[in-house]
């Protein structure tokens, strides 16, 4: 009860409320810009939270995350270009609705669905995190090593295009994580005689580089002239209550999409970009009129927008309990938590319980605030975005990126490293080695190394010390899951081969290695 009152008092602080409001608005602003992802929104806005106390900083970033995922729907509906990858399926239905003169209706439905999804994510986080955190104390060094490897295998398996390239990206990230002083041996590795590298590659510096710089290059190359916007009728009224009625008139679709969103969110590296497509596909399969999908169907829009916002809080289940980010934006949140000395695990729910629960509930408040911000300010924000020329947008983002990277450790070297990693990330992305795999490798590298070396040290009395990695039952379960996730692309390809004829197989051959 004491904890409840403490959390409630923290959340009722007017400054915290203003931070949530500002965070949702800023997130909506960045998320609505085509091509700019939620991870980028968090990375760009991160430096503004440096001087804030832990709770206020986390609350602001949680609200930015929630707003950015929702903001992606604006561009998807009005420009047919998903603002973030989490809104791909939103464009399938939202844009045809907008072309049909139903833009405001589509945005209203997306708003209500996003708010419901956001609240469902908070509910799942509150429900699943404490038991998983209690389980996490049973994790020893070997289990942490295998969990890190499982995360890497999952993201490689889920990488678009090629699993092998996913693994390449993940192992590159792990190599980057090993630059600097060894966590157990204490010696310098991979510093190339440069003292600045002794501290290693700062996670947030790498995140900013990998997520922001490639987008800047893309925006510079493409310009914004190609965007064909749909006009919104500013006099359209009465859509809000209709939208509420419409969304809640399909409870099965809504609940199914939220559950799909949560399941996908828990898988490290998956996130909203996969959840919205899976939920959309399931909504189509379950619909009585699947032939209408792609022509402006509300069911598809509700499925996409509710599932992607579930992943915001939902993907924090593995983050808060095991320290493994469920989605790339969670990596930024993890960075901020570590910066404030907060370590994921059971302590987060006991010792720092007031802060953790206030942070979780603040995301619920952010989900609710998306409704007024989206309905009242959304049109204005969108107008600003469409009217801002790319030749001001690109340098503006570059300026904030440089400032933010420098402000992390007041280090000029970090800015150079960020720019170099961003350029490498851009080249690798063109070669289909995606940034999320590299970033997850970078985060998991440290966890995996400590787990690996500690296990080997514990096994020095044995003839084969590496046996320690396989002895525990929990480790064995994680290894089985890892093998399953590793082999899933190959198993599904084999299954497709079994089901399809040779002619159809020729078309699919390139997808599978």
């Amino acid at each position: 009860m004491e904890l409840f009152w403490k959390v409630a008092t923290d959340l009722m602080d007017p400054f915290v409320f203003l931070l949530i409001l500002g965070g949702v608005t800023a997130g909506l602003f960045v998320g609505a810009m085509p091509g700019l992802t939620a991870a980028m929104a968090l990375a760009v806005l991160l430096p503004f939270t440096f001087k804030l106390p832990p709770l206020q900083g986390l609350v602001a970033l949680g609200a930015v995350y929630m707003g950015a995922i929702y903001g992606g729907s604006f561009a998807a509906i009005l420009v047919n270009t998903p603002g973030t990858p989490s809104s791909i399926a939103t464009a399938f239905e939202g844009y045809p609705m907008a072309k049909d003169g139903r833009a405001v209706e589509a945005i209203s439905i997306a708003t209500i669905s996003s708010a419901v999804g956001g609240l469902a994510g908070v509910f799942f986080l509150l429900l699943l995190s404490p038991p998983l955190a209690r389980l996490s104390i049973k994790f020893g060094s070997a289990e942490y090593f295998w969990v890190a490897m499982l995360g890497l295998t999952l993201i490689a398996s889920l990488s678009p295009g090629s699993t092998l390239k996913g693994f390449l990206g993940g192992s590159f990230g792990m190599m980057l994580a090993s630059v600097g002083v060894a966590p157990i041996g204490g010696e310098n590795r991979f510093t190339f005689g440069m003292p600045v590298l002794q501290g290693g590659v700062e996670m947030i510096v790498a995140l900013i580089g990998f997520f922001v710089i490639p987008e800047l290059f893309n925006m510079a190359a493409q310009g914004r002239a190609a965007l064909a916007e749909v006009t919104m009728d500013s006099k359209e009224r009465g859509t809000f209550f209709n939208a509420v009625r419409t969304v809640f008139s399909m409870p099965v679709n809504l609940v199914r999409s939220c559950i799909i969103g949560e399941i996908v969110a828990i898988i490290p590296g998956a996130g909203g970009s996969i959840a919205n497509l899976v939920a959309y596909n399931e909504a189509k399969r379950a619909s009585k009129h699947p032939e209408l999908f792609g022509k402006g169907t509300v069911e598809g829009l509700v499925a996409s927008e509710s599932s992607n916002n579930v992943t915001v809080a939902g993907s924090m289940v593995p983050l808060l309990t095991l320290g493994i980010p469920g989605a790339p934006p969670d990596a930024v949140i993890l960075g901020v938590m570590l910066m404030h000395g907060l370590r994921p695990g059971l302590d987060l729910f006991t010792v720092s319980g007031d802060l953790t629960y206030a942070f979780i509930l603040s995301m619920g408040v952010a989900a609710v605030l998306m409704v007024p911000v989206g309905m009242l300010g959304g049109r204005l924000i969108y107008k600003v975005i469409v009217k801002t020329p790319h030749y001001f947008l690109v340098p503006s983002i570059a300026l904030v990126t440089i400032l933010g990277t420098y402000a992390l450790r007041n280090s000029f070297s970090d800015v150079v490293i960020m720019l170099l990693l961003g350029t490498i990330g851009f080249i690798l992305r063109e070669l289909e080695v995606e940034s999320p795999a590299i970033v997850l490798g970078l985060i998991l590298g440290g966890i995996a190394e400590v787990g690996f070396v500690q296990s080997i040290l514990r096994g020095t009395s044995l003839e084969h010390p590496w046996v320690m990695l396989f002895q525990n039952r929990l480790s064995q379960i994680i290894i089985v899951l890892m093998v399953l996730s590793f082999s899933s692309p190959y198993l599904s390809a084999g299954f497709r081969k079994f089901k399809k004829g040779p002619a159809e197989l020729l078309e699919d051959e390139e997808d599978v290695e």
């Binding site: 092998l164 192992s171 190599m175 390139e510």
Partner: protein, 151 residues
């Protein structure tokens, strides 16, 4: 003209080059400090080699750097690097005003004619924006931003 590149082969070769760089930079360190990176380096090399083999046997081809103007990517990269490298000499404020303004004019040049009057107007906008962020970071967040020849 857009050429379709063998991305498997290129990614694999790039991976092998990076493995070479890490191998060269591993340093003279004890077993405890190097055993994990060595294992990962081995895996990294194996994945890269597998991609090279795949690229030779059954390549996956796609157009790279095909979306938009490739020249703009190189130009933007060059301006960004020059902007950052000028910071220790010109200081954050002066370098950023110059970098921002040059990048704006460069990116806008393919869409509209840049007259001296327009460039001057944009310089004022850039000055206002950089000053705004400079004041937030330097005066509000107390970040000691790099100073240079001027301030």
């Amino acid at each position: 003209m857009t050429r379709r590149a063998n991305t498997d082969l290129f990614a694999g070769i790039l991976g092998l080059v990076m493995v070479g760089v890490f191998w060269y930079g591993r340093g003279d360190v004890g077993h405890l400090s190097i055993m994990f990176p060595q294992a990962i380096m081995f895996l990294f090399g194996a994945f890269s080699a597998a991609l090279v083999v795949k690229g030779l046997v059954r390549p996956h081809r796609r157009s790279i750097f095909a979306e938009g103007d490739r020249g703009k990517i190189i130009g933007t990269g060059a301006i960004l690097f020059s902007w950052v490298m000028a910071i220790p000499y010109g200081g954050f404020f002066v370098s950023s005003v110059a970098g921002f303004w040059v990048l704006t004019c460069y990116l806008a040049s393919s869409h509209r004619k840049i007259t001296p009057a327009l460039a001057g107007k944009w310089l004022c906008v850039v000055l206002v924006e950089v000053t705004f962020f400079y004041l937030i970071f330097a005066k509000l967040l107390y970040v000691p931003l790099p100073t240079g020849v001027f301030f």
